[in-house]
């Protein structure tokens, strides 16, 4: 049940990302601030839920993004989100999951995400930046936007995940 609510939450977040957020970004900064709120929540899944959940969520919502904003190619967001969600779940599968660690994951994740997307577009010769330009132009500024979003949603999401895990434990005990 909780899983379904989470999917609904991510769907709403996805729609907000394309419709409400553009109004919040000042006109001159369009293209310089890249918003990946759904991806941040996928990373939370990787660390606090399970890597397979993160993989599936990443693949699904990445594909949704690819289809809804289909410009030149389908696939890069799906691939990157799935891969990084899974990696976050594998590498940070430790006992003590602190807030600082989660924020670190979000920073690195956002950086890797943009780098892989840049790589894919360069591979298909669709990009018009050099890597250094891309880094200064939008990768580093948007890392901080992701960080701020992660800070805002950390507490409620953490509670939510704890609740889900508590429920799961109960279920397994009853069984």
């Amino acid at each position: 049940m909780n899983r379904n609510w989470m999917i609904l939450f991510l769907l709403i977040l996805f729609f907000i990302e394309g419709s409400v957020v553009p109004h919040l970004i000042p006109d001159g900064w369009y293209g310089r601030i890249v918003v990946q709120f759904v991806f941040v929540v996928v990373l939370f899944h990787g660390v606090y839920a399970h890597r397979h959940t993160a993989l599936l969520m990443g693949l699904g919502f990445g594909l949704l993004h690819d289809i809804v904003y289909y410009g030149q190619i389908i696939g890069p967001h799906s691939f990157t989100m799935g891969l990084l969600g899974y990696l976050a779940g594998t590498v940070f599968n430790v006992r003590h999951k602190t807030m600082v660690m989660m924020l670190f994951v979000v920073l690195i994740g956002s950086f890797l995400y943009q780098t892989i997307i840049y790589g894919i577009y360069t591979l298909f010769s669709l990009s018009h930046f050099t890597y250094q330009q891309a880094l200064l132009d939008y990768i580093i500024p948007s890392m901080f936007v992701q960080l701020i979003f992660a800070l805002i949603v950390y507490v409620p999401l953490r509670k939510w995940f704890d609740m889900i895990q508590g429920n799961n434990k109960k279920d397994s005990e009853e069984a």
Partner: protein, 311 residues
Amino acid sequence: MCMNKVTKRHYDEKVLTLFKLLGNKRLFILMLGLILFIALMGFSLGNRGKLTWAEKFVHDTSSFVQQVFYRPTAAVSAFFENVSNLSETYEENERLKTAYAHYIRDKAEYNRVKADNERYKKLLEFTEHQKAQNRPYEYRIAQVTGLNVADPFNQSLNINLGSKNGVQKGMPVIAVEGVVGVISHVSEFSSSVQLLTNIDEKSRAIAVTVQGKENKSFGMIESYDHSNNTFLMTRIEENDPLDEGDVIVSSGLGGKFPAGLIIGKVIKRQVGDIGLTHTAVIEPAATYQDWRELFVVIPPNKGNSSQENGQ
């Protein structure tokens, strides 16, 4: 044997988790996924004519839902913008009054020229096809449903008009100020628009000319400079009358992009890389903002061609 297994497991646990990732099965699945995705990207990269029904369904549904979010937000943001612009209202009113007076004067002139034009067409015995080509464009008003802010290489937006409303791939989309982009993919009830800022050497260049010197000037808009936010216009002849401050409009040569749509203003003219032709730096007329409504331009010989064939 059993002993081996135990030591192996022990070893596995000790080894870094990252190392674990390179286990055989996982590596195999990762490789398979990579190949699949590269294939998918390669497949979707080409010039695809029509979308599959699944893509259309997802696109239509999410555009519809997004619109529910987009419109109220746009209204609120427009309200705040209006409040902050309140002080300029008086000046704007004065400007509009002058513009309206000009318009009334030009309208009389236009009516006369139009009547003349009709008469000449009759005298010169234009064919039906030629007449159809000179018909004015049809403008369809479209609501923006969402903007892509997650990918700087794919600046696109979605609108709520689709193939059911007569929209086709390649039609220009304009704001009041000028050209915004081109329809890139069409679903039944929605379509996506590639912004003109995505233009590069690989996509089709737009033939342009100077407003007021349509027959003397020629050039191509080929690329967009992301660091300066300007277009580069190339292949301008040396003796071309193009000058700084001129308004650049599409010329309609080549047939794909209809004529007369405003693209930008010339900032600078310079000698090109090779020295044979000149290039010009163009400031876009329609810069990015949170558009609420855009117009899809339907050229007369495109939108109704099927109906005419039927008659």
